[in-house]
């Protein structure tokens, strides 16, 4: 039972209360019906924890050679493409929760699984939904939803300028970028394109050439990730949005960036403001574009 079902029941509960208010005093049988229905709905609500949330959802559709309009999709391509897409999401999610090693099992893969819940209307594809056996709680972070949004942003940014691509890729682990590239390679090799929709935002590749360009732009030679030692001082930190400003020594240049999952308590950085230090940032750069920085380890003041 998730928040969606709970919301539906709450809505039904308030509708029944309203219908009871409108029933005339003499309508004894009608009121008995509504009261028994209200009791059933209340019994269901009582079984549910109140702090559940909606599962993250996304719609992934495909067009091109392996897709027959809105009638069907070749099973081999559909299964492989969906598996590779979910692999990207689980790796992006794992990277958000902690460092992701270059090889080996993906941490928390079981809890970052996506369920196919329906076929998508329009071009052929699938509706995907976050799934856990236990209720989805509000305070469990909703990392799958964040990972779906970050995956959509990354795919979209392959079609934007170098700075925007570096921005979208900053904070996403190398292994997840490679997974995204593998997914796009399958599309390119199969003469297919995809569109992804989540949290009310949508991006779709317009043609296969765009997909193939995206594969090149996510290549390690183009999307360069490394580390940079920077001397300076923190100017400010936003612990909830996990962003920082860091002024470089000997200049007025201020770099802004994201705070990665390696820093468990970003608020602690606020105790280090305006203190000179040298910090190691993860640096993401596309071709000769402007680098983007991510702080993955707590600096020592």
């Amino acid at each position: 039972m998730n928040r969606g079902e709970r919301q539906l029941l709450l809505s039904e509960y308030s509708t029944l209360q309203e219908l009871l208010k409108r029933a005339s005093a003499g309508d004894i049988l009608g009121k008995r019906s509504l009261e028994s229905r209200l009791a059933s709905v209340k019994a269901l609500l009582d079984q549910m924890p109140a702090d559940t949330r909606m599962p993250a959802r996304a719609c992934v559709t495909f067009r091109g050679k392996p897709v027959v309009g809105s009638h069907g999709i070749f099973a081999e391509f559909g299964a492989k493409a969906t598996q590779l897409f979910t692999d990207v999401v689980s790796k992006v999610a794992a990277g958000m929760e902690g460092p992701l090693k270059e090889t080996g099992p993906v941490p928390n893969k079981a809890q970052n699984q996506l369920l196919i819940t329906n076929t998508a209307i329009g071009s052929f594809g699938f509706e995907l939904e976050e799934h856990r056996d236990e209720p989805l709680l509000i305070d469990d972070g909703g990392v799958v939803g964040e990972a779906l949004a970050a995956t959509l942003d990354l795919l979209e940014a392959t079609n934007l300028d170098d700075d925007r691509l570096a921005e979208a890729a900053a904070g996403i682990e190398d292994r997840a970028i490679t997974a995204a590239r593998t997914f796009l390679m399958l599309l390119g090799e199969s003469d297919a394109v995809c569109a992804v929709e989540t949290r009310g935002k949508r991006f779709g590749f317009s043609d296969v050439a765009q997909v193939r360009r995206a594969v090149s732009r996510l290549a390690k030679e183009n999307l360069i990730e490394g580390f940079a030692n920077k001397a300076g001082e923190f100017q400010g930190v936003l612990p909830k949005s996990r962003t920082f400003e860091f002024k470089l020594s000997g200049s007025n240049e201020v770099i802004k960036g994201k705070i990665g999952p390696g820093v468990a308590n970003p608020d602690a950085l606020n105790a280090m403001l305006h203190k000179p230090m040298t910090v190691v940032f993860a640096e993401t750069r596309v071709a000769t574009g402007k680098p983007r920085y991510t702080l993955n380890t707590m600096p020592i003041a």
């Binding site: 039904e12 509708t15 029944l16 309203e18 219908l19 409108r22 029933a23 005339s24 003499g26 309508d27 004894i28 049988l29 009608g30 008995r32 019906s33 509504l34 028994s36 229905r37 329906n118």
Partner: protein, 111 residues
């Protein structure tokens, strides 16, 4: 209805009865004559009928709100595919209902 289309045996039948009080009778008197017939849990247990009642003679806006509610409750399955309704006109003689049941039986459906 959807269970018939899926050729799966239904566990129950959902029924909303839109009724009028007979002249000279009252809902209170009807209830006292046969209280078990108006106890949803007992009706479900005895007849496998998830049954509810809506008054036709009352306030028109309440009738519209009730109709919209019950339509919303049973017009779709959980996966949002449409479900159908069968409308039976229950006169005291119940002739239309009997005729419809005969038609369904003739078309191979076991009511």
């Amino acid at each position: 209805m959807s269970s018939w289309l899926r050729a799966a045996p239904p566990n129950d039948v959902d029924v909303v009865t839109f009724f009028r009080s007979a002249a000279g009778d009252s809902q209170d008197a009807v209830l006292k004559r046969n209280p078990d017939l108006f106890d949803q849990a007992k009706v479900m247990q005895t007849f496998n009928v998830d049954g509810y009642l809506v008054l036709l003679d009352g306030d028109a806006s309440a009738l519209v709100a009730n109709s919209a509610y019950w339509y919303g409750v049973w017009s779709h399955r959980r996966d949002m595919t449409w479900k159908g309704f069968v409308e039976l006109d229950l006169t005291p003689a119940e002739t239309p209902a009997t005729d419809l049941l005969k038609t369904l039986t003739a078309s191979g459906v076991t009511p």
